[in-house]
């Protein structure tokens, strides 16, 4: 399945990926409205690491043998059998953070406002991950089998 891979050599640390991740999961899906209108700004679903000059964003790897799915105490974390995307059902999620405990990539973020897990869903609704589309330096690729693919 297609996943998001990062080319850390050309990530410029601008964090526009985070801006557009938030926008794509907001109510109005518009940058201005997401940041100025919505009082409860969505938590981003990607982790950004930075230690200059290296920086990159890290997304859920949608693992085949996802430990978060196996460890989730409520069954909220599930891998969609047809698309392969691992999604957290926030209605079921109780914010126990067991997924945070087991994710080897540390890719799950705690949405402390809503007390649920927040993670990359490959922008399932939009069809193309917003972070990939809006990276100004083409540091994120959406492909199958790695970067060179």
């Amino acid at each position: 399945m297609k996943k998001v891979y990062v080319k850390e050599e050309v990530c410029v640390g601008c964090r526009l990926c985070e801006v557009y991740c938030i926008t794509s999961h907001s109510k109005y899906k518009d940058v201005l409205k997401a940041f100025k209108l919505e009082t409860q700004r969505p938590t981003p679903r990607i982790v950004i690491e930075e230690n200059k000059p290296v920086s990159f964003s890290l997304q859920c790897r949608h693992c085949n043998d996802a430990p978060c799915v196996k460890s989730c105490i409520t069954g909220a974390m599930q891998k969609d059998p047809s698309t392969g995307v691992v999604i957290c059902d926030t209605d079921k999620c109780v914010g126990c953070w067991t997924c945070v405990l087991v994710c080897e990539f540390g890719a799950i973020i705690r949405d402390v406002n809503n007390k649920v897990a927040s993670k990359c869903d490959l922008c399932a609704e939009a069809g193309e991950p917003a972070c990939v589309k809006n990276c100004p330096n083409e540091a994120l690729v959406y492909s199958e089998g790695g970067i060179s693919a």
């Binding site: 050599e9 050309v10 990530c11 410029v12 640390g13 601008c14 964090r15 526009l16 801006v19 557009y20 940058v31 201005l32 940041f35 100025k36 200059k52 000059p53 809006n134 100004p136 330096n137 083409e138 540091a139």
Partner: protein, 501 residues
């Protein structure tokens, strides 16, 4: 600390209705103009640092930023202009030589814009480049006096080494040190894809780019950085740099702080030491010395590669060029006074040298009159801004052109003219790894390829319009040009007629 009398040159206008405090501008500005104030909960800008590179403007997700020339003016004065006054303030504060980057920005006349090109009308019909083949390929190098052909129509005469260019455009010399590794990567890769050449400049050839050797011209400049046998033999051609258009007569200086481990290895000098290119080559004090160096380089490379010489366009450029041709060079690159640079003293850049238009015309005419025009190729450099400039340059006598400033603009340069600070926000004129990453060679080389392909197509259109289908038929074809608004003397030197004649 005494007060500076300088006020900001630019003003940052931020539309707070659109600003979402995402801080991308703050993160991306190497001049530290933008910052987030927690107490006011808004972004604030320090106009004093802004150089108008527009990185923040382009990256802002809501287009909330505009940079304008600061509205603060002096009382109107045709002689003591804004710049003249401020230059004095600067020198009074620092006691230093004013440095600047990129090319001469003074309002001297631009002669390209005073020439117009012919087109066919009734007789000698125009050619449609989409339907007929057009030849843009040129060969740079010494041509023999005559050709002998055998019974099978093969050329018997031994040809001196030639550089094949698919289009008469090459990337001009920009050293690794003045521009970044990623910029070189983009230039090398674009040159390979386009079938043209790029020039390493005086900074040596990085080992990672050896694989592009057949698309590389290596420079032997007065500091001889990076010059060894492998350097010379990897390349397609060697260029002896006597001078450049932006700073004729003086050398170059890369400060020690910018000589990183990588640059040290490429230039073959100790890390952290200043890289000084002296004004003359200390082994070239006469034209005979130049001939000696040309032939030493040919010996070192078994006469397999063209050896060219690059000079700045100065007062007696025609005589100099004639001497260089007779000294055995295979091509001469002439760099006009609008040529760019990473850093040069402002006064030299703005006041020394002559326009390339006159230089090419003068050199071409002089070499023809001496019957030696065929012995050498001419490459014109120094602010070629578009395909029309190229057509005019070739019509004036050039075999091909070098572009540099245009190439950097294609890569993202916004002409803020602050290369000498090393803080280029576009990752071009910097060695700071945080900034160099911003130029993604994958994106960069495609932009360069796009630019050159677009220009080549436009050249074909203009050629076709003139009824010519081979660029060689345009070379030195002064009749294809007419002058507008020029004096008779200017027309004479350029060797063209006035519009209407």
């Amino acid at each position: 600390m005494s007060l500076s009398y300088l006020t900001p040159e630019f003003k940052v206008l931020r539309d707070y209705d659109k600003c979402i405090n995402c801080k991308v501008c703050m993160r991306q500005c190497s001049f530290e103009v933008h910052s987030y104030d927690e107490h006011l909960d808004k972004m604030i800008s320090n106009d004093m640092n802004c150089v108008n590179c527009q990185r923040c403007v382009v990256l802002c997700p809501t287009q909330a930023l505009t940079i304008i020339k600061h509205p603060q003016t002096f009382k109107e004065h045709a002689n003591w202009t804004y710049d003249a006054i401020r230059d004095i303030y600067r020198q009074a504060e620092t006691g230093g030589v004013l440095l600047s980057s990129m090319g001469n920005d003074r309002p001297y006349p631009v002669y390209w814009d005073k020439m117009v090109i012919n087109a066919s009308q009734v007789t000698n019909p125009s050619i449609d480049p989409l339907r007929e083949p057009m030849e843009l390929r040129v060969y740079i190098g010494r041509k023999p006096d005559k050709i002998e052909i055998d019974e099978n129509l093969n050329v018997k005469t031994k040809m001196p080494p030639q550089l094949k260019l698919e289009t008469p455009i090459m990337f001009s010399a920009m050293s690794y040190g003045s521009i970044s590794y990623n910029a070189h990567a983009a230039l090398a890769r674009a040159a390979e894809e386009l079938g043209i050449l790029y020039n390493t400049g005086e900074g040596g050839l990085h080992k990672d780019f050896r694989k592009y050797g057949k698309n590389t011209i290596v420079q032997v400049a007065s500091g001889r950085f990076g010059v060894d046998r492998e350097y010379l033999n990897t390349a397609a051609a060697i260029e002896i740099k006597i001078g450049q258009g932006a700073k004729p007569g003086i050398g170059g200086h890369l400060p020690g702080e910018k000589v990183s481990e990588d640059i040290s290895a490429t230039r073959m000098i100790p890390a952290g030491s200043d890289a000084i290119s002296p004004a003359p080559h200390h082994d070239i004090y006469s034209i005979e010395d130049l001939a000696q160096l040309i032939y030493s380089l040919k010996e070192a490379t078994d006469y397999q590669k063209p050896v060219g010489v690059k000079i700045a366009a100065v007062n007696n450029v025609a005589a100099i060029a004639s001497g260089i041709a007779r000294a055995g060079a295979d091509y001469i690159a002439i760099d006009g006074f609008r040529g760019g640079t990473g850093a040069a003293p402002k006064r030299i850049r703005d006041n020394v040298g002559i326009p390339i238009e006159f230089a090419i015309a003068a050199v071409d005419a002089r070499l023809r009159s001496e019957g030696i025009r065929h012995t050498i190729s001419l490459v014109a450099a120094g602010s070629i801004r578009n395909s029309a400039d190229i057509v005019k340059a070739i019509a004036l006598g050039a075999d091909a052109v070098y572009i540099a400033t245009a190439a950097l603009i294609a890569l993202g340069c916004h002409m803020c003219q602050k290369c000498h600070t090393g803080k280029c926000n576009w990752g071009i004129a910097t060695q700071d790894p945080n900034l160099v990453k911003r130029l993604n060679p994958e994106i960069g080389y495609k932009r360069l390829v796009n630019l050159v392909q677009a220009w080549s197509h436009e050249i074909k259109e203009m050629l076709g319009g003139m009824g010519i289908n081979d660029i060689e038929s345009l070379k030195g074809n002064r009749l294809m040009l007419r002058g507008i608004g020029m004096t008779q003397k200017e027309l004479d030197i350029l060797g063209i007629l006035a519009a209407g004649e």
